[in-house]
Amino acid sequence: MTIGKIRVPLFCSLFLWAALWEVVGQSGASFIIPPLSAIFERMAEIVPTASFASALWITAKAFLLGNLIAIGLGVPLGVLMGRSIIADRIFLPWVNLFLSAPLTALVPVIMVIFGLGETTIIMTVVLFAVWIIVLDARAGVRAISPSLVEMARCFGASRWQAFSKIYLLAALPEILAGIRLGMIRAVKGVVIGQLLVSIIGFGKLFELYSSRFLMEHFWALLFVLFAFAFTLNEVLAWLERKLDYYAAARQ
């Protein structure tokens, strides 16, 4: 976009919206929208506190563990489904169902099984992340050129060698895309899990702030989470671009 003769970067529109928010906030139109400046002040106040640090620690742990489990389950299952028609027939309807299902509704079920604790949050992350990982790994394996599979067989690859040396690497661009999308979903999972459990981590803080109408705190926390999700997405997209060269080089 250019104004006059000056090129204006796209993110500058954010400043416009921030200014608008500030004006609305200062005018006191609604207690739900406090001034942006106050939110940022509050953010600087909240972030160094112990309760924030512990919430962050719980979130990070649940996020990482949940993703690891989702990848550990999802990639092999996806590869299996890509290679075996029987496995595909058995699992694909379920994967598609869970991919589009409103998973939030299932979190209470997880709560019943795993109790009101960190395990539930980890399993919520898995529940949100795993399906897209399965589906992308499956798509990646199905896109492997048949001659590469034949090459592995011809030169005497065992099943394990074919999996680890050919399928996994040939499908890596799709697998990574699946992991990236899974992580974006996992952010939702880790937040929704905590909100529903609401006695630990950020869920506890959200519960505290919203029940006492501390809107500045509430927004500050939300911004932190948004920034976290956005940064994570950008980092993963950057990693994916770095690895993309051989996806394009594939015949």
Binding site: S145, S147, L148, E150, M151, A152, R153, C154, F155, G156, A157, S158, Q161, K165, I166, L169, A170, L172, Y245, Y246, A248, A249, R250, Q251
Partner: protein
């Protein structure tokens, strides 16, 4: 002087023996109908026929990649039940691993067999030089031209030191000039390496140029329609072959016998 001999008793012992082989694909497409061919040791035999005639099917059955419906294949006296270390395959679309360097691609067959890294890299290096890719050991497939990629595929097949090399239209995805150079190199390779080559192509000129024997296959379901042994002197240098009258006559003869399938 006739180059066509309908029944030729192979002078050398048969390395690969295909015996009344039939292949019906699931769905009822009949690709091969009772094909019997002997492939003599140390020679280059070409499977030539109209497109879609089952040449590649036959090659893949010999490779052990496809099961036969009926009949049998024997390699070096043993029946084929699957891929084996005495056979190596060169693919039409190269089938290189895009994430691996030339060195690793060439050594991949040895890597799968558990050969130690230093040893397999030494062997790979030797064949990289032999196919004329010295200096490209650490390049990746996407940095190479089509012709160079196929040289990698060829080096990979040579590196496992198989007795039988199966080449599935290896030069069809390569431009014309590169292709000619390739054909010349292949002749030298056949002379150097004492291996049995089975070569699939749809180019008559290519077949006559590189082959000791040419097996003409009929349209699907394929049968052996005739066997041609081009009696072209190979010692006069690679360029002379294309000017040799026997070469030109044989090309014409094969064209006449194949054109019936085009109607």
């Amino acid at each position: 002087m006739s180059a066509v001999a309908a029944t030729v008793s192979a002078s050398a012992a048969a390395m690969v023996r295909v015996d009344s082989l039939s292949k019906v694909y699931p769905g009822g497409v009949e690709a091969l109908n009772s094909v019997s061919i002997d492939f003599p040791e140390g020679q280059l035999t070409t499977l030539l026929g109209p497109s879609g005639c089952g040449k590649t099917t036959l090659l893949k059955i010999i490779a052990g990649l496809l099961p036969a419906s009926q009949g049998s294949v024997q390699v070096d006296g043993r029946p084929v039940t699957g891929p084996g270390p005495e056979r190596a395959f060169v693919f039409q679309d190269f089938a290189l691993m895009p994430w691996a360097s030339v060195l690793r691609n060439v050594g991949f067959g040895l890597e799968l067999r558990g050969v130690a890294r230093s040893e397999r890299e030494a062997v790979a290096e030797k064949y990289i030089i032999q196919v004329g890719l010295a200096g490209f050991e650490h390049a990746y497939p996407h940095e190479l031209s089509g012709g160079m990629r196929q040289r990698v595929g060829l080096a990979r097949a040579l590196a496992v030191n198989a007795k039988v090399l199966l080449l599935d239209e290896p030069f069809s995805a390569v431009d014309e000039q590169t292709r000619r150079k390739f054909q010349e190199d292949l002749l030298q390779l056949v002379a150097q390496e004492r291996k049995t080559f089975i070569f699939v192509t749809h180019s008559i000129e290519e077949a006559v140029y590189v082959s000791d024997r040419i097996v003409l296959l009929s349209r699907r379901p394929s049968r052996v329609s005739s066997i041609v042994e081009p009696a072209i002197p190979r010692d006069g240098g690679t360029e002379e072959i294309r000017r040799n009258p026997v070469y030109l006559d044989t090309v014409e003869e094969i064209w006449q016998s194949l054109r019936q399938y085009l109607d």
